[in-house]
């Protein structure tokens, strides 16, 4: 094990998979000569050349569609959206084409493609550039949706995503790219399975389910709560579709309460889905209503002070945990 950044973990995953499989290529805006808008693809062009590291014009619908078409006939494209906000102009390609053709062709055509890029708020990039898109894509049967929080998960899951025979929505985070964490040594081919939750912190008093950027907010809040005698168990689903609730249900059966913390808006989405499943699967074990701490139900303001309020904060997590724990 060594410590590397989330960005480097993603880059290693792409290097290793492109090395392993000739059919894997990277396509997107500024992925080649510019070295990636967020430097995730740095060095890939030098290694694999313009044939496999392809700069595109600003045409998300076009290059998303090209990727899907190429995947339909056997390639394994990695399509980078400079940010997921720009995926909306390619929404039809992902939903009407990538997610549908397998079933529409009675299973004859597969679309092994990864769409990846930074998701959610960065810092003061305002409403059009701060979308947390998981709710849109998790709604769609025929897609996998992955949102890793740590460098290790980022690498292991991206490798699994590239090898998947299905279209994968891979949600990274601009503010996560610099996060450091332990990752197996280079050359260790660790594949983290799609659709498996991970226990991030053990505790007996309250379960918290979280992923993405708020993962770190929650871990910090959990330490503060521990100092007050409330031990939180933190579970990161890592994959939002298919959703693995087994670990969460087990945990809630132990703690009898749960707070779900996510960046996306409160209306629907994986947060609401988790709450729905937990209330069904752990109903007789609940001692308190399931609560959520979410991004506030507003468009993201530019002003820094307000942006801080919109995103889940430690204070809101702590308040919610105390509320469901009936603690003062």
């Amino acid at each position: 094990m060594r410590e590397i950044r989330y960005r480097e973990a993603l880059r290693e995953a792409m290097f290793e998979e492109m090395e392993r499989d000739e059919s894997v290529f990277l396509m997107g805006e500024e992925v080649g000569h510019y070295q990636g808008a967020y430097k995730v693809s740095e060095g890939l062009l030098e290694k694999y050349g313009e044939r496999r590291v392809i700069d595109t014009p600003i045409a998300e619908a076009g290059f998303a569609g090209v990727g899907i078409g190429a995947a339909m006939v056997g390639l394994r494209p990695i399509i980078e959206f400079m940010t997921w906000n720009f995926s909306f102009v390619a929404f039809d390609q992902i939903i009407s084409n990538a997610a549908k053709v397998h079933q529409m062709s009675a299973g004859k055509i597969q679309v092994p493609i990864v769409f990846r890029g930074p998701n959610g708020a960065a810092k003061q990039v305002a409403s059009q550039h701060s979308h947390s898109v998981a709710p849109f894509y998790t709604h769609i049967p025929g897609l996998h949706v992955i949102q890793p929080s740590t460098p290790r998960d980022a690498k292991g899951l991206l490798k699994s995503a590239i090898r998947s025979n299905n279209p994968v929505i891979f949600l990274e985070g601009e503010t996560l790219y610099g996060v450091k964490g332990e990752v197996p040594d280079e050359g260790v081919d660790e594949l983290i399975p799609i659709g498996e939750s991970r226990l991030a912190r053990a505790g007996a008093d309250c379960t918290i389910v979280t992923w993405g950027r708020p993962y770190y907010t929650v871990l910090a809040a959990a330490e503060k709560l521990a100092a007050e005698g409330i031990e939180c168990e933190v579970i990161d689903p890592r994959t939002l579709r298919p959703l693995d609730t087994e670990l969460m249900v087990q945990s809630v059966k132990k703690t009898n309460r749960c707070v779900v913390v996510h960046e996306h808006w409160p209306y629907g989405g994986p947060g609401a889905e988790i709450v729905d499943r937990l209330q069904r699967e752990a109903f007789d074990h609940l001692d308190a209503p399931l609560e959520r701490v979410t991004g506030l139900d507003v468009s993201m303001p530019y002003a820094s002070n307000l942006e801080d309020k919109v995103l889940p904060t430690e204070e809101r997590v702590i308040d919610a945990v105390k509320r469901v724990s009936y603690a003062k």
Binding site: G69, V73, Q103, M104, N165
Partner: protein, 309 residues
């Protein structure tokens, strides 16, 4: 061409009987284009079409009974009842689908062409769409990328004069759509589509260009559909006179006269008609008697298996 014509007529009849549901878009009047394209293409090539896709599927060799069964929503259909009229697929013959979001499949065609280039394969992609597609963004982005990357793809605009019910002069500032090609750095061509021999000759040029590394071509074929946009369209937006005039150029009448001019016996042409009638009747019977679509297939085809099986 007769197979397509008769297939479409029987499809219409069975739609009226309630055996076929949803949307049904007929190819009657445009048959020469599909037949010519199938002649020009190699077996390994890829084909994309819109929802008006029965013609090309049949021309490419899909059995009429398999196509009809799909329209009937049966497990024996080419897409096992998951696609219907608008989403025929025949992957083994390189027919990669009927697609039903206008302009959405052009980029896919650029994608399969991208793969041919990436993998150094000698496969051309041909992509059909209507003139209505030329106004949507998907057209623009796909053409841009195909032109930019010199992809081996032929974009065939079947200009049947009406985007659903709106005539071309009310949807486009251009009468000659083929000049759009210039904007994407590719050659354009434009011709009438009622004579199968002409279509074959002109399409061959574009396909050869793609195959020989000359990049994409945009081809506008002027054609006419004798039926409405779909079965629910009474086609009141065009005059009886216009339709009758166009029927003078019915591709089937044209080819029949041409063949007779070449000395082919009319009786032998009639024999073909009878043979086709029997084939299509059998297709309807096959579709009608087939088992309905299956629930377990539905559940198992949402996602592809990860073990590759």
């Amino acid at each position: 061409m007769m197979v397509i014509r008769r297939f479409e007529e029987e499809a219409a009849r069975n739609y009226a009987k309630g055996k076929i549901g949803g949307f049904l878009h007929l190819y009657i009047g445009q048959e020469a284009i599909a037949v010519a394209a199938a002649e020009v293409l190699e077996d390994r090539d890829y084909i994309f079409q819109t929802y008006r896709d029965h013609g090309i599927a049949l021309a490419r060799g899909m059995a009429a009974n398999v196509a009809m069964a799909e329209l009937f929503g049966k497990d024996t259909g080419c897409s096992r009842g998951f696609g219907g009229s608008m989403h025929l697929f025949d992957v083994e013959r390189g027919f990669l689908g009927g697609w039903a979001i206008v302009g959405g499949h052009l980029a896919l065609a650029a994608g399969t062409a991208f793969k041919s280039k990436y993998a150094g394969e000698d496969r051309v992609t041909i992509c059909f769409f209507g003139e209505g597609s030329t106004n949507i963004g998907g057209f623009h982005e796909a053409m841009s990328l195909a032109g930019l990357w010199k992809l081996p793809v032929v974009f065939v605009c079947e200009n049947n004069q009406y985007a659903m019910g709106t005539p071309l002069e009310r949807t486009s500032p251009l009468k000659d759509l083929s000049i759009k090609a210039k904007g994407y750095g590719m050659p354009g061509d434009r011709f009438e589509g009622h004579d199968v021999a002409v279509v074959q000759e002109r399409l061959a040029k574009a396909v050869d260009r793609a195959r020989s590394g000359g990049g994409p071509t945009f081809v506008e074929i002027q054609t006419y559909r004798f039926r409405g946009h779909s079965m629910s369209d009474p086609a009141k937006y065009r005059s009886r006179t216009e339709l009758e005039q166009r029927k003078q150029q019915d591709p089937i009448v044209v080819v029949r006269e041409k063949l007779m001019g070449l000395g082919i016996d009319e009786n032998s042409l009639d024999d073909i008609d009878i043979e086709v009638d029997e084939e299509i009747d059998a297709a309807v019977r096959f579709a009608d008697e087939s088992a309905p679509a299956l629930e377990d297939v539905m559940m198992s085809t949402v996602l592809a298996r990860e073990d590759g099986a």
